[in-house]
């Protein structure tokens, strides 16, 4: 019997492979448990308050990478403008926090007390109408998700109904990211300009700058991320997920299987935007500000690299990829700040050329067979390829991340 897995024949149909009624298969269960254990238990136990907050910030980017796995990895729709949705989510909650921080008492030295400081500096004398509803927390929370989804829907409907796709779509999303940055920077009086919305203090009176609050927010963030992972996994396991994969390879054929391709693309693009937006809002809450530097072309491309490094068809890989790249970024830019952008470029080229399936691919081809042998299981066939990205992460040892 040949020991090498034979992709041409594959194993006899195992009943498990045909069972789509459960959310996870065994391998995915392990991968999920590992991610959950590391972010819910290992990080909080091993990291000091400062580092934990830093990891919490990294994890807010993981939402974006997760959305990109669905949209780009499965659906083949590359968006180079996910920073826009991250930013919109972040700005929506920042507006609420800023209004709370700008009470008449806090701002009595301003020429117009009760409005955000940057408005006062820009000679604005009344709160603009679009800021008014952000006095309400429920409204702000809804807006966090709905505003980015609406923007994604408009872009998606305009592009996908006209069958704009591939590189053209990527370029258009990039243009949107550029325009959004220019708008935010240009409309200083309404947006806080290049500095963004800063000096955020309390959420309904709860001081989010304290260590205790930050720890709490870390867990809220981790919990929401796990929720998004479960949602992404649900989409992947549904027929919708298989249609995404089908669309990636043969979009035309999917139409002739009776599906309206544009609707499927719009939905997955909106879902990715919603994920990114939740990440953006959690960023604002944990880091205490939001600025256009998370909206533009460079951060948007960086977010694509997180997904690529993790393995673009791997839900769990997206989390590890994000953590790894951000850890590298923090260490590198502490010592050689100018080198980071080059490092990032090299990383991207390296991954695309050498490891197109990223960490998840490396895990599947190297670590998984060894593990299977150790556990005395039959080797999993290499038939999986990009479609079934069922994968376990190439573990980023928690200590490394903690360094």
């Amino acid at each position: 019997m040949p020991s090498a897995p034979a992709p041409a024949t594959g194993p006899a149909a195992s009943p498990a492979a045909r069972d789509e009624s459960t959310l996870f298969d065994t391998k995915e269960w392990l991968a999920f448990a590992l991610v959950a254990a590391v972010i819910l238990v290992v990080f909080p136990l091993c990291l000091d308050a400062f580092r934990l907050n830093l990891v919490g910030k990294y994890l807010t980017y993981a939402y974006v990478a997760l959305g990109l796995v669905l949209c780009w990895g499965f659906g083949g729709i590359l968006s180079l403008g996910q920073g826009v949705f991250f930013g919109l989510g972040g700005y929506c909650i920042a507006m609420f926090l800023k209004l709370e921080a700008s009470s008449a008492a806090n701002t009595k030295i301003q020429s117009t007390p009760g409005i955000p400081d940057f408005m006062d500096w820009n000679q604005i004398t009344a709160l603009p109408w679009m800021w008014q509803p952000f006095h309400s927390l429920p409204f702000a929370l809804l807006a966090v998700v709905l505003v980015p989804v609406l923007v994604a829907f408009v872009i998606g409907a305009a592009m996908f109904k006209r069958r704009v796709g591939g590189v053209y779509f990527a370029i258009i999303t990039q243009a949107v990211a550029a325009i959004a940055t220019i708008l935010i920077v240009g409309q200083q009086g309404y947006t806080g300009g290049i500095n963004g919305i800063t000096d955020l203090r309390t959420l309904h009176g709860w001081d989010i700058r304290q260590d205790g609050a930050k720890e709490m927010l870390y867990f809220v963030n981790a919990g929401l991320l796990i929720g998004c992972i479960l949602l992404a996994q649900f989409v992947k396991r549904s027929k919708f997920g298989r249609i995404l994969v089908a669309m990636r390879g043969k979009e035309d054929r999917v139409r002739f299987s009776g599906y309206n391709v544009a609707n499927f693309k719009i939905f997955v693009f909106c879902l990715a935007a919603a994920f990114a937006a939740v990440g953006g809002a959690m960023f604002t809450l944990q880091v205490g500000f939001m600025s256009p530097s998370f909206v533009g072309i460079v951060p948007s491309i960086e977010m694509v690299i997180y997904a690529a490094v993790g393995g673009r068809t791997s839900i769990f890989g997206a989390i590890w990829g994000t953590l790894l790249v951000n850890y590298a970024k923090t260490s590198l830019s502490e010592s050689f700040p100018q080198l980071w952008l080059f490092g990032l470029g090299a990383l991207y080229i390296g991954v695309v050329m050498l490891f197109p399936d990223g960490l998840a691919g490396l895990w599947n081809s190297h670590a998984q067979p060894t593990l299977d042998r150790l556990l005395g299981r039959r080797p999993t066939p290499a038939v999986q390829g990009p479609a079934s990205g069922a994968t376990q992460p190439a573990t980023l040892p928690p200590q490394t991340a903690a360094e």
Partner: protein
């Protein structure tokens, strides 16, 4: 674009498409009955594939009308044409390489075709049974878990036919279904076609004359986007114009 209402399943009238002034299909009219098997033959570049492209909505007509059960198809989107009951097999096998044979067939199963429907689709007993039944028909019953890209060329052709069958279309359009097949595969495919054409209308494009004679009752010969001859195989074969442009060489 107004075609007349008829009793035909498919009525193509004055259909024209021009690519930058070149008329690939030129004022073409033909009719297909319920349960009819129509074979379209003609030299390379005659416009055969383009006719199918027009019917299934892949290419938009410049003018003319295509009525399916008296419903105008030229204004519908591809997926709506599929839902109306028209299935189409492409000249080169067009299947989902990254998915298994089972998943290829399941995607084609006519249920849960909206976004919400796809998210909530359950792989229940009805789906499994139907997929297995079709897989049996297309000789792929033991290949269900195999990724489609690893199938042989002939198996890919069968899979695509299976993807159409599971849609249960009233009009099935096959573009060169035996092209590139081995002799034994051809024999099996002919047998497969005989079985599946029983309860539906079929349009087949084919170059293999032995195969055509085997299945055809009525043949349409296309040449430069127009009909050169139409009728029973024996008449068409004897037609000197057809012999000159097509059968002669």
């Amino acid at each position: 674009m107004t075609g007349s209402n008829t009793d035909f399943l498919l009525a193509v009238e004055a259909l024209t498409v021009s690519f930058d002034g070149f008329k690939a299909v030129d004022d073409l009219s033909f009719y297909v009955d319920e349960r009819e098997i129509r074979v379209i033959i003609g030299p390379n570049g005659a416009g055969k594939t383009t006719v199918l492209d027009l019917i299934c909505g892949k290419t938009r007509a410049t003018s003319g009308s295509i009525k399916f059960r008296n419903r105008e198809l030229t204004k519908l989107r591809e997926n709506e044409i599929v839902q109306a009951g028209v299935g189409r097999k492409f000249q080169t096998p067009s299947i989902y390489d990254d998915l298994t044979v089972f998943e290829n067939l399941e995607i084609s199963y006519p249920r849960g075709r909206t976004v919400f429907g796809a998210l909530t689709f359950r792989r229940d007993a009805a789906v499994r049974e139907r997929v297995e039944e079709i897989a049996e028909t297309i000789f792929l019953a033991d290949q269900l878990e195999r990724r489609a890209e690893f199938l042989s060329h002939g198996q890919k052709q069968w899979l695509e036919i299976g993807m159409l069958l599971i849609q249960d279309p009233d009009l099935l359009m096959l573009d060169e279904p035996v092209a590139g097949m081995s002799v034994s595969e051809r024999v099996k495919t002919a047998e497969l076609l005989h079985r599946i054409i029983r309860d539906r209308s079929v349009i087949v494009i084919e170059h293999d004359m032995k195969f055509v004679e085997d299945i055809a009752r009525k043949v349409t010969v296309l040449h430069q986007g127009r009909i050169l001859a139409e009728g029973p195989m024996s008449d068409v074969k004897a037609n000197p114009k057809v012999v000159e442009v097509y059968l002669g060489h």
